[in-house]
């Protein structure tokens, strides 16, 4: 992929994220943070692709370990966020 395209994606995503995240009320900052934390496990996609393409046994194992670690981040992060958000109830 062209470096220009990659940089464009990076900048656009940063700005879009900044705009939307600024609207999240401080009431929900803990779940926001843990939800974003879950998203940072997106590296699992890179790990899967890289491990699948890896030639050496050592790097394949490294890839599988990275997949598992990122998955802990993703699954745990989304679940804990879900648990928290479900607790917020309105008085009415």
């Amino acid at each position: 992929m062209n470096i220009g395209i990659m940089l464009t994606i990076f900048v656009v995503a940063t700005l879009a994220g900044y705009k939307l995240i600024s609207n999240v009320p401080s009431l929900l900052h803990t779940p926001l943070m843990s939800g974003m934390n879950a998203l940072s496990g997106v590296t699992v996609l890179g790990a899967l692709a890289a491990a699948a393409a890896a030639m050496r046994t050592g790097s394949k194992i490294l890839g599988v370990v990275a997949v598992a670690l990122a998955m802990i981040n993703v699954a745990g992060g989304f679940l804990i966020t879900d648990r928290m958000l479900k607790m917020f109830k309105s008085g009415k």
């Binding site: 900044y18 900052h29 934390n37 990275a66 670690l69 958000l85 008085g91």
Partner: protein, 471 residues
């Protein structure tokens, strides 16, 4: 990229952004988070289909094992344990990015571009520092490590030196060949891991909301840079979004503590021993003598009686929770009090300071857990104009965030920090462990006001006794 890939990636990013938009209201937030999770699941399935290769069973095993461990950890934790678990997950995400980047470096034979390798080097150091920094933060949050900042000789210079060494090695490693290149990358990795530790040990307990927000931003950055290494548009886009979120939270937390990020990163002033607290400075007007003395003569029993009368007669009560409420697990008692007072039509609200607790929004989660409706939880800017009209304020385990020295005592570490204006209320009841200053080390002049009833001791026990007196 094929057209299908572009369509899938765009759909995933749009779903994630829509999910974040839904997070702006508690009514739609659950759906928003689930949409994000679904988008991620879709992306994983798409990658699996795209890379259908020989050792898929091994990768699937990794996926499933990681997923199950994550679910087990998240399902078991209590709400009190959330900050350290989030820090732990954050660290593992960083370590995963570190692993992917290291893999790209090891597989140089597949002839990635120099740019890919340089990005790998950077992803390795950002991921590595995120990992070790988050582990220290998690240990501090779980109280398995001293909460006080730990300062090494020449700490600041050491940090800068490590930063320079790891960046130089990581980038130059990309332009080298063979063993030298591996050695440079390995050196960069070690320096990054050490940097994470050195960086985190210096940050004290109450500065944790900032640290954990910053580490969150770093884990996003690690994923995004990793995206440049493996040329994956989703890593770049979603990593960038996470980086944005972390930065916003970091900024908000810094503002709420009236401290620059630089101050906190360099060990900050708030950690210095309370150099000049308002009570020992000579030019401060002496505290009113007689009235508080009288109150001080009351036995604890009488003080609870006084507090109960205040609460019983109040038409409006404002509860100000702090980290002490979490520590003594007093939120259950707070809820009992809330129910009792609501039943007699007392207007009970909660004043939430943005940095109360150990992570952004910590108090809201604890109170939501005990079923206090979120429309009762108010933010600092909205609540401060109301204090003068409040009949009784109940402080539960909060000190620095209600310390008027932040307004009056120039030169103290907390001067200028926005606080909750509890000192303007008609009557205040303080349920704190003791009269000691909070994390900032600055004595709290609020305690000397004669309309303040101080109930020292474990907040949960104090509140239980107080509720008994109400009936």
């Amino acid at each position: 990229m094929t057209v299908t890939e572009i369509v899938v990636s765009t759909a995933v990013v749009l779903a994630v952004l829509t999910g974040i938009r839904l997070l702006s209201s508690p009514k739609t937030a659950v759906a928003g988070n689930r949409l994000g999770a679904l988008a991620m699941l879709g992306a994983i399935v798409a990658v699996l289909l795209r890379n259908q290769v020989v050792d898929a069973p091994l990768l699937l095993a990794g996926l499933v094992a990681g997923g199950l461990i994550g679910i087990a950890l998240a399902a078991r934790t209590t709400m009190l344990g959330i900050p350290q678990l989030v820090a732990l997950f954050n660290g593992l995400g960083g370590l995963a990015s570190f692993g992917v980047a290291a893999l790209v470096v090891l597989e140089r034979a597949q002839a990635p571009t120099t740019l890919n390798i340089a990005a790998s080097g950077l992803a390795m150091i950002v991921g590595g520092a995120t990992f070790s920094g988050s582990m220290i933060a998690a240990a501090k949050l779980a109280r398995k490590m001293n909460q006080r900042p730990m300062l090494l000789p020449g700490h600041g210079r050491l940090c800068v030196a490590l930063l320079i060494v790891m960046t130089t090695l990581a980038v130059s490693g990309a332009f080298m060949e063979g063993r030298v290149s591996y050695a440079a990358m390995a050196g960069a990795a070690v320096a990054a891991l050490v940097f994470g530790v050195v960086f985190s040990i210096r940050i004290g307990g109450a500065d944790m909301p900032v640290t954990i927000a910053l580490l969150n931003a770093l884990s996003g950055m690690a994923a995004a840079i990793c995206g440049f290494a493996v040329e994956n548009e989703l890593l770049i886009a979603i990593g960038a979004i996470v980086g944005s979120a972390g930065l916003i939270l970091t900024k908000i937390m810094c503002r709420a503590m009236n401290r620059s990020l630089r101050d906190i990163l360099t060990g900050g002033t708030a950690c210095a021993p309370a150099a000049k607290s308002p009570t020992d400075s000579a030019d401060e007007p002496p505290a009113p003598e007689s009235a508080p003395e009288e109150r001080a003569e009351q036995t604890p029993e009488q003080k609870i009686e006084t507090a109960a009368t205040l609460i019983r007669d109040a038409k409006s009560v404002m509860v100000v929770p702090g980290y002490g409420m979490a520590l003594s697990q007093a939120q259950t008692e707070v809820k009992r009090l809330f129910d009792r007072l609501s039943a007699q039509d007392t207007d009970v609200k909660f004043a939430i300071h943005p940095v109360a607790g150990r992570m952004p929004g910590h108090m809201n989660v604890l109170l939501a857990e005990v079923d206090i409706p979120y429309d009762r939880l108010m933010e600092l800017e909205d609540v401060n104009p109301l204090f003068a009209d409040i009949d009784a304020v109940l402080v539960v385990g909060a000190c620095d965030v209600v310390n008027p020295a932040a307004i009056s005592a120039e030169g103290t570490p907390i001067y200028g920090m926005p606080i909750l204006h509890v000192h303007e209320a008609k009557n205040t009841i303080v349920c704190n462990l003791d009269a000691k200053p909070g994390y900032s080390g600055v004595d709290n002049p609020l305690y000397e006001n004669n309309n303040v009833v101080k109930l020292w001791g474990n907040a949960a026990e104090t509140l239980a006794a107080l509720i008994d007196k109400l009936s």
